[in-house]
Symmetry: C2
Subunit: 145 residues, 2 copies
DNA sequence: TCCTCATATGAAGACTTGTTCATATGAGGC
DNA sequence: GCCTCATATGAACAAGTCTTCATATGAGGA
């Protein structure tokens, strides 16, 4: 499986410099469905509102109205977001009377959140990745062009 | 700072059941900007195309055309995505002649990717979070309603 | 039983985002 | 110096997504 191979499965119509490398990466990449699933989970974490909800749930279960209050969002909006999260098995609901208590259900997501929070407080007051990004919205600095 | 407090900073107009808990969560939540930045990074990982690019870069630097070939995307599309990633300091570019070699630049993102890939291959053939989600798109199963 | 409350759901609208086509920039080779 | 190639950029269109308003469902209390 070296560069000598004709790269039968390579996408035609695109130039390739290091065919070896390309083939290796294609091998290493998870299948399409796997990538899509993973991206979907990240996308779930990619909304500030949802992210706050999930971080709130890190400490334990909460009901919808408390989540809304704690995260400063409308209850309907929260319910919609929770529905999405529920559909992806990220959270589960427990019912008690007319209240619904939600909690984190996905160990992977919890791990991601933990890692991220750790990174945040380790990063100090306010110098995160995106701070630098905000400082250079278009021109990256010097590496490009 | 118990439930006895009138919760001066609580969002008005929303019901609260466990005021104590709500206050605690509000304390624990990172500030708005921090949350937004973090969500932005997750959102970056939330696109299948970008996710593939980043996973490809886990193995080392690559040029644009090889990335495009390896990930099965158009070169222009890849360039646009890389521009976004560059703006958020997730990748950096090294120029050599007319080629541009990209590599991962953010340790946090690399960690997230590593954790996720480990989770994927640990999860076995095809039973990820989202597989279950696909099986129950709307009705979650039994916890709700 | 009726009324109220907590949550869930549906539909519509505004907004954001990704892709494509066309073109610009700059480096090498002839 | 000119032409070709790799990448970058801009504009426009398409598609998806979040929020809001209105309403439905079901549980408790009077």
């Amino acid at each position: 499986m070296t560069a000598a191979q004709p790269d039968a499965d390579a996408a035609c119509a695109v130039r390739v410099v290091d065919a070896d490398r390309v083939a290796a990466v294609r091998e290493a990449l998870p299948d399409e469905g796997r990538v899509a699933d993973t991206a979907a989970v990240f996308a779930l974490l990619g909304d500030p509102g949802r992210l706050k909800l999930l971080v709130a749930l890190l400490e334990g279960e909460m009901c919808v109205c408390d989540l809304a209050a704690a995260c400063g969002q409308g209850e309907s909006a929260v319910s919609h977001q929770l529905r999405l999260l529920r559909a992806h098995r990220v959270v589960t609901a427990r019912r008690s009377g007319r209240m619904a208590y939600y909690r984190l259900a996905d160990a992977h997501v919890r791990l991601l959140l933990d890692v991220t929070l750790a990174h945040l407080e380790h990063a100090g007051p306010a110098d995160t990745v995106a701070t630098a990004a905000a400082a250079a919205p278009t021109r990256t600095g010097g590496a490009d062009r």
